[in-house]
């Protein structure tokens, strides 16, 4: 008997899994709950194309789901899991043989006074991006709180369209936890040369407003940065509350093994909500990227179909800022040795990370797709050495 698969969350991970199951010949029912009203879509354009690009890029066209017999329940939120009886509760109870949690992550709140006024947005959903597009016209001034990848992408797209942009970052550099010091420095100057103000090592104390609209961001040292729009981009937190309430093993994210199984063998979890093993890395980590979501969807599809597990992946993701197409592979750990190829000023370069033994552990590239693919191949071979 082909099991009845229930997927909670209609994002990249959930949708990819549903499609892969049908590709692999799964015959049982597939039911996918998604609490957003839009059909599943690509999130990367939200921070890259919100000014004038094509925002709405659907993962699959609407008729796809009917044709593939994927029962998508849009706008329906799952409120609890009953593991003993193997069912979830939404507008009505829904039994499962296999449950897959693909609930993603939500933007981390900024715990300062004044954030609930008009003009303050965070960016996770298509709705958020539509709101931002409405707010951000060329004559506006935006403050972006948080210099992570999403913050920098929003900054670049806004700046390229004539918006006055200030980035406020709490750490001493942008991308402090996710990129090498070298890349942080190169990107910071790239943004500054294009007219963006970047303030690092600065805490936001509060936001001020007038008539319910944000007017300024006030820093700890008292500096007030006047603005019309604030984008809060201070990271994302996994939406693991259903799993926590159901007693599944969680540790800021649902803990899964290498086939994306949770502590209950009938329940899998995939995508941004998980804390997972990553090839070549000790312990478990959270990866928030499309390739990671796809990889885990492959793992679960193989497990459900009884097919061979996918080959170990090389984690990677991309980011577009101005005319820089950045691609990063491997896991960036602070304090590695970094060798640079190419001139940052030319907008085309690669940063190769090595451990103490000289093995390549990661690569950060801009407009250098060949270097990226070569390094990724090297990382996959597992015998990555600097002399190659």
């Amino acid at each position: 008997m082909s099991p009845r698969v229930v997927v909670v969350g209609g994002g990249h991970a959930g949708t990819t899994l549903a499609a892969l199951l049908r590709q692999g010949g799964h015959r049982g029912e597939i039911i996918m709950f998604g609490d957003e009203v839009d059909f599943p879509y690509h999130r990367p354009p939200l921070s890259k194309k919100f000014v004038d690009g094509e925002l709405e890029q659907w993962l699959r066209p609407a008729p796809f789901y009917t044709e593939q017999r994927i029962d998508v329940r849009l706008g329906e939120r799952v409120s609890s899991i009953d593991r003993a009886d193997r069912r979830v509760h939404a507008s009505s109870p829904c039994p499962y043989d296999v449950l897959v949690l693909a609930t993603g992550a939500r933007p981390r709140d900024l715990p300062v006074p004044g954030v609930t006024v008009g003009g303050v947005v965070s960016l996770r959903t298509l709705e958020d991006a539509r709101a931002l597009r409405k707010h951000l016209t060329a004559d506006r001034r935006v403050v972006i709180i948080g210099g992570g990848y999403i913050g920098l992408e929003v900054a670049a797209a806004a700046r390229a369209n004539g918006v006055e942009v200030t980035i406020v970052e709490r750490e001493q550099r942008v991308l402090a936890r996710v990129a090498s010091e070298e890349l942080s420095a190169i990107l910071a100057s790239y943004h500054r040369e294009r007219g963006t103000t970047i303030i690092t090592g600065a805490q936001v104390r509060r936001l001020t407003s007038r008539d319910g609209q944000v007017r300024a961001v006030v820093l700890d040292d008292g500096t007030a940065i006047p603005c019309d729009v604030v984008v809060v981009g201070v990271g994302a937190v996994p939406r693991d509350e259903l799993a926590v309430a159901a007693g599944l093993d969680c540790d800021q994210g649902i803990v899964v093994d290498g086939s994306a199984r949770t502590s209950d063998s009938a329940v899998f979890a995939i995508g941004d909500v998980t804390r997972r093993p990553v090839p070549g890395v000790d312990g478990l980590m959270r990866l928030e990227s499309i390739p990671s979501a796809t990889e885990q969807a492959r793992q679960v599809s193989a497990a459900i179909l009884g097919a061979e597990a996918p080959a170990p992946e090389v984690p990677w993701f991309w980011s577009d800022q101005f005319d820089l197409k950045l691609k990063i592979a491997g896991v960036v750990v602070p304090g590695c040795h970094v060798v640079r190829r190419g001139e940052p000023a030319s907008g085309r370069f690669a940063l190769l990370h090595h451990d103490d033994a000289g093995a390549v552990t990661a690569v950060e590239t801009a407009n250098a797709p060949g270097e990226f693919m070569a390094a990724k191949k090297l990382l996959r071979s597992g015998h990555a050495h600097s002399h190659l």
Binding site: P44, R60, I290, W318, P369, G370, R380
Partner: protein
């Protein structure tokens, strides 16, 4: 609508009508064919939409696409990224072969 023939990693063959202006990748994703992953949705970023196709019917390879393919698994002279293959009137009957290496 031009018909594109996809030969998949498992040897199965699928004929799909792809509207002009859409890509060979779109036609595959739309019909849930195995092998083309297309993580980036067609922005020439991910290289998970690799196919083999005879040259000539489609636009020239851009530098970016060429570089992505250079070190792709299973690369051959007839390798292309299917999101960059925009189907036009003259593409009817074209046949693409999908390797099993996308997503590696």
């Amino acid at each position: 609508m031009p018909t594109v023939t996809y030969e998949l990693p498992d040897g199965s063959v699928h004929e799909v009508d792809v509207p002009c202006g859409q890509s060979v990748m779109d036609g595959s994703v739309r019909n849930n064919l195995a092998g083309i992953v297309a993580e980036c949705g067609g922005s020439c970023s991910c290289a998970t939409c690799h196919v083999y196709v005879d040259a000539g019917l489609f636009d020239e390879v851009s530098d970016e696409e060429r570089e992505l393919l250079e070190f792709a698994e299973g690369v051959r002279p007839e390798s292309r990224l299917s999101c960059q293959l925009i189907v036009g009137e003259g593409c009817g009957g074209v046949r693409v072969r999908v390797p099993d290496t996308n997503g590696l």
